[in-house]
């Protein structure tokens, strides 16, 4: 039966446009030389479009004939009249071909399955990009990939969209990896993307959320920087744009947003790791996200994922004044962190950026809050300085798993508090 698979594949390759419904393959056991001769004359018979898979050569071998359904009756009567025994080997060729196709497709998918990625390891940009494609292939009714622009060095910027349909649904934005050296941020986002895709339809809370809202997840928000941390400098933070008149490249993409831009907590020196850039949204990576968010118009939450320090923060960073929604954001943050801690006991602090970590102007969640996206949060993931940016890969999945509980809590609150 082994040869069938090979044969069918070749068969399909040759006849890929034809349909073979009702066609049969007959196996003939010739008992004499006479039978062989009769079968050989049958071979010459062109009208019946007989397709010999095994030619009549000797009585020692079977003769297999693929007979088009329209000629089946005639052929069977002919064989019976000549007392040539036969059996039906393939009852309906089309069905067999379709099964075979499905099997091949399944194998193709398995080979580049989104599940075969090692979530407990750090991956380079192209591995992540390829994996994103496989996720889209595996969950075509839930996940799609949108190209939102190019980086300074012409890398594509992609965001994964999780949606069950509708148009202009309220949406949640999550970005990771805006600072290149914070590898656990993007690694967490990869795990999270897979989690959302696999839990939809199984987790009632997530399912109800996705039935009402869309989730947009940007896994690598600073691709140029991320590549640079793999090729040249593991401690790189910024973008890779050229600063005219300076030997130093790059702008801190989280000081470049139009929110108190150029104020305290950002440097005007291009060599600084917190250089704010020449003007707000000067960095194409930031501008692409700004444009996307603004033209979408329906974002209700904006969550940015960083590392390290174990913090969950809400606006503002550019000023220590409380936002109007301080009480609600603080309450949501505390419950989210309780959920996070419940998994491994990891301790997080909650508060506004300015008081929890430092005053910092030009930050993304300040911008998002000020354009009306109330549920704006920033995470700083593990750890608190022992490994810092060099968090062991063995901690990726624990980090992502605990963070998911906090993310889910925030998203559920957004779902249940429409505005």
């Amino acid at each position: 039966m082994q040869y069938f698979v090979v044969f069918l594949t070749l068969f399909l390759a040759v006849h890929s446009q034809r349909v073979f419904t009702g066609d049969q393959v007959l196996r003939i056991n010739a008992e004499s030389e006479e039978h062989i001769q009769i079968l050989q004359t049958l071979q010459k018979e062109q009208e019946m479009e007989l397709d010999f898979w095994i030619h009549p050569v000797s009585v020692d071998l079977p003769v297999d004939i693929h007979v088009p359904s329209v000629h089946l009756q005639k052929v069977k009567i002919f064989l019976q009249e000549h007392n040539i025994p036969f059996s039906v080997m393939i009852n309906n060729l089309q069905v067999l071909l379709e099964d075979e196709q499905a099997e091949m497709e399944k194998n193709r998918i398995k080979e580049r399955s989104s599940k075969s990625l090692n979530f407990g390891a750090y991956h380079d940009l192209y591995t992540i990009y390829n994996w994103m494609d496989s996720l889209v292939t595996e969950y075509p009714n839930l996940v799609s990939k949108e190209h939102i622009g190019l980086t300074y060095e012409n890398h594509a910027m992609y965001v994964l969209k999780f949606s069950t349909g509708g148009s202009s649904r309220p949406a949640i934005w999550i970005d990771a990896g805006i600072h290149a050296r914070e590898w656990v941020s993007s690694a967490t986002a990869v795990w999270t993307a897979n989690k959302i895709a696999t839990d939809y339809g199984h987790d009632s809370s997530l399912t109800s959320l996705l039935n009402k809202m869309d989730i947009y997840l940007m896994i690598v928000t600073n691709p140029d920087g991320y590549v640079y941390t793999h090729t040249s400098d593991r401690m790189w933070r910024k973008t890779r744009s050229v600063n005219p008149g300076s030997m130093c490249r790059g702008v801190d993409p989280n000081r470049n947003w139009d929110a108190g831009f150029g104020g305290p907590g950002a440097s005007s020196n291009p060599c600084s790791d917190s250089y704010h850039g020449p003007y707000a949204h000067s960095e194409v990576e930031v501008k692409n996200v700004v444009n996307f968010i603004q033209s979408h118009g329906q974002f209700k939450s904006f969550i940015s994922i960083h590392a390290y320090s174990q913090l969950l923060m809400y606006p503002y960073g550019y000023t220590c004044t409380n936002v109007p929604d301080q009480a609600e954001l603080d309450s949501v943050g505390r419950s989210a962190v309780n959920a996070l801690s419940s998994l491994y006991g990891t301790q997080y602090k909650v508060g506004n950026i300015c008081r929890i970590i430092y005053q910092a102007s030009g930050g993304s969640i300040d911008w998002s809050y000020d354009i009306g996206i109330k549920y704006s949060f920033a995470f700083e993931l593990r750890d608190t300085g022992r490994y810092g940016f060099l968090l062991p890969a063995s901690q990726i999945i624990p980090t992502a798993s605990e963070t998911w509980l906090a993310l889910k809590h925030i998203m559920e609150h957004v779902r249940d508090n429409a505005y």
Partner: protein, 267 residues
Amino acid sequence: AHTVLYITGLQFVLKLTPHTPAASPSVPGQEDIQAAMPVEELDPSHYPATRAAKVAEHFINTRYGSPFAWFGSSGVKKAGLEDMGVLGTKYHIEFTLKEMTRNQDMGLCSAEVLFHRADERKPPQVQCTCSGAFQVNTSAEEEDLYQRLRNATSLLSGSDIPNSVGHIDPEMAPFWHLGGVASSFIMLRESNESTLLNMAHIDNFTQMETKDAQLMFQYDILLHDMVSQEILKWKLLLSWSPDGGVKVLEAEWDPKCQAIPTSSILY
């Protein structure tokens, strides 16, 4: 402590003579902390308390750190700020301490961290006591490592610790801890109210020839300041022995082109 500062070109070198503790001895449990009357209670989750605790953490490592004992604060419980006028600002903090290599809880510590006025450019002064059994019993491992290194026929070296994916070879781990402890000397001296320093990476270390009982190492390390987000490159010459503890003999900051020294970024 006797410090001589040379400024040559873009680099400056700190030469530290054999370490004499500044103002306060700090044998745990035998020191009376001045009755703390903080002027202002601080939120323990806010950054002023976090930064003060980090300084106390560095202080504890300079005193008690070793290749087998590396300490970290695991959360501030209480914090207060005392305005000391011309003297500077004093933080009173209570925090939990962990010995990180064994993930061992060390109990509660009380510390006073005095930051001098910024213009004085003096390192912070720390007094600290920790409750509970503070001593980590590492003497066996320390002696074992010490003897192995002294009897080795070649000098040890290592690099890229941890590596990009956070991996450390088990044989290198004590040298990672040693680098962290030695870095604490520098981080303690470099700290102010606008810094939060951690050792980010050991680029490389090399054991040096010595004639005396101390083992000597040259370390190239990277520090990370959370507040400015700068990566600071330091070269350290350090000595260690089980009896002598960790000492930093020389320290040199290696600035990148046109970089700004952290301490001058005060907003």
